[in-house]
């Protein structure tokens, strides 16, 4: 207690023991302080002032009346008792706390999880040509190309199909519906074939090739779908086709729709479906061809042409989106003759000339370069 002899008012106010004596005194505290004050009567005044300050400066507390507090406390205890009562009324333990029930519930849960796991990890069903044909409701004709040459097949609607060696195709003796009268044209393919489909928007043409469904309104494209291969692919030459997987939950809607929904592919693009994972990816065909109308045969001769103009010429000739920064590429003029070259050779050359690079992403070509301000 000796340290208090030289305490100032402020020191008393913020001394923890002093405050405790003022705010929450115990009998012992009180005795100690009273004794000290008796021994140091000159300190009485400062101690009393400090005491008053400590008592007067308090946190502003929301008022809580005694009845209000009482009610709140009782409510908690009542709630507790109500809970305890609920439990004891149901005997020693509620029915679901029994050991047998718990184990049974656990088994049910495990079985459930097991089933879910099995569902998730089940191999996607591999759908084959034979099953598809067997499931068809109408009478089918089948062509098998056992020769070493591509075999042309003409269908009654005017479409022509060129079947590669080792491939076979089934098609109905008669397509249901009439031209422009609705219905569907459906064929089944195993192997590889090039389709040149007669335009008939009212009767979309479907090619079922293993897991992949190709829907067209009138266009030409190649489907490759050999039973022993891991991938199924569709590559478009002209027009547009829509491709979707048979596993697609919306497959029915996509088939019914008059529009092309699903993954739409355009000339020089292809989709590849990996059969095991049912994963469809879109890319460019290995050798894109010029799709522009005959007669307007594009010529690829450029003389001090901004590279952006070259790209847009290629874009319209091949029907492939070429994405580039116009502001940057406008500054780069090139002079070149690019006829007689494949698309990729052309791109290689252009990019080399302007110090750029390109990638094929998702069926499009993306060009990146810093421009040639310094050239």
């Amino acid at each position: 207690m000796d340290r208090y002899r030289d305490f100032s008012l402020g020191e008393f106010v913020w001394d923890k023991s002093f405050r405790n004596w003022v705010l929450n005194p115990t009998r012992e505290d009180d005795e100690t302080w009273q004794n000290w004050l008796d021994a140091h009567p000159d300190k009485r005044e400062i101690v009393e002032r400090a005491r008053q300050l400590v008592l007067s400066i308090r946190p502003a507390n929301a008022s809580l009346s005694n009845p209000e507090k009482r009610k709140a406390v009782e409510r908690i205890v009542e709630r507790l008792e109500a809970r305890n009562l609920d439990r004891s009324e149901e005997g020693h333990a509620p029915w679901y706390a029994g050991r047998v029930v718990r184990i049974a519930a656990m088994l049910v849960l495990l079985a459930g999880f097991g089933w879910l796991f099995w569902l998730r990890h089940q191999q996607p069903k591999v759908i084959g040509y034979d099953q598809l044909v067997a499931a068809a409701k109408v009478e089918m004709r089948e062509v098998v190309n056992t020769t070493a040459q591509p075999l042309p097949v003409d269908l009654e609607d005017g479409s022509r199909i060129v079947l590669d060696p080792g491939s076979r195709m089934s098609y109905p003796a008669h397509f249901n519906g009439t031209p422009r009268g609705g219905g569907k044209r459906e064929v089944f393919l195993s192997g590889k074939a090039f389709f040149d489909i007669a335009k008939d928007p009212a009767r979309p043409f479907f090619v079922y090739a293993n897991e992949l469904v190709t829907k067209v309104l009138g266009t030409s494209f190649t489907v490759r779908s050999f039973a022993n291969e891991q991938e199924v692919s569709v590559a478009v030459k002209t027009g547009k086709v829509a491709v979707f997987s048979r596993e697609d939950p919306d497959a029915t809607d996509k088939q019914i729709s008059r529009e092309l929904t699903g993954m739409v592919i355009e000339p020089n693009q292809q989709v590849v479906l990996v059969r095991k994972t049912v994963k469809i990816t879109k890319s460019l065909v290995p050798e894109p061809e010029v799709v522009a109308e005959a007669g307007a045969a594009p010529h690829f001769e450029f003389d001090e042409t901004p590279v952006s103009a070259v790209f847009s010429a290629l874009q319209s000739a091949y029907g492939i989106d070429i994405i580039y920064d116009k502001n940057v590429m406008d500054e780069c003029p090139i002079t070149a003759t690019l006829t007689e070259m494949s698309l990729y050779e052309k791109l290689d050359l252009i990019c080399k000339a302007v110090d750029a690079s390109y990638k094929s992403i998702d069926g499009r070509i993306v060009v990146e370069g810093k421009g040639c301000r310094n050239n």
């Binding site: 100032s8 005194p25 115990t26 009998r27 009180d30 300050l53 007067s56 946190p59 908690i76 507790l80």
Partner: protein, 205 residues
């Protein structure tokens, strides 16, 4: 001098008694449970109102805290001091509630939005001298200027008699951080005290 109005003396074993109630309550004694609630209710309520002004909400939260304690009584340590534990539970509950409300509004607020907000006030009728009344009013103003976390630490330490470790538990921070908060608060109080005192009168510090 006014008659020496002294608050009721607490028994010497006040805190030990609280610990005893806590132990008995954890052992399943409902009477001890009720007594413990009764003894800590004011503190919890006042502490709660520093975070939220909705009285009914705070009462509900306190109720949940106590019902939760009973629910978990087999798992709780009978030697931990009950007050800091209860305050910490209430604080957590209020925070959780606030963040849930925030999510409901799909609005983004900072975590610091739910803060301890405390006003100090002075009761002048307890003070005899006019000079000291002035002193009290200046001190109150100064305390109210303290940053909120420092205020909370001061509140717990000097108005609720808590130790550093207990404050750390309640505020969910390191004991060292509590020391830092208190030290900063004191630096602030001391530096202002001198100015106040010299302003009010030439009172010795």
């Amino acid at each position: 001098m006014k008659p020496f109005t002294r608050p009721e003396l607490r028994p010497a074993l006040y805190l030990e008694e609280e610990q005893k109630l806590w132990r008995e309550m954890l052992a399943g004694d409902v009477t001890a449970y009720e007594q413990l609630i009764d003894r800590t209710y004011d503190l919890l309520f006042h502490y709660g109102t520093k975070f939220n002004s909705d009285r009914e909400l705070i009462k509900d939260c306190i109720q949940d805290v106590f019902l939760g304690v009973w629910e978990k009584k087999d798992a709780l340590n009978s030697e931990i001091p009950p007050k800091p534990y209860l305050l910490a539970s209430l604080r957590r509950r209020l925070h959780r509630l606030a963040s849930r409300l925030r999510m409901d509004c799909m609005d983004y607020y900072n975590e610091t939005d739910i803060v301890f907000d405390l006003e100090f006030s002075a009761e002048y009728q307890l003070i005899e001298s006019e000079n000291d009344s002035l002193l009290a009013s200046r001190m109150t103003e100064m305390l109210n200027e303290l940053p909120k976390r420092q205020k909370e630490a001061i509140f717990l330490r000097f108005y609720n008699d808590m130790e550093r470790e207990e404050i750390a538990l309640v505020m969910d921070i390191q004991p060292q951080s509590v020391s830092n908060l208190l030290q900063e608060a004191f630096k602030f109080i001391k530096s202002h005290w001198k100015a106040i005192v010299s302003l009010v009168l030439a009172l010795p510090f």
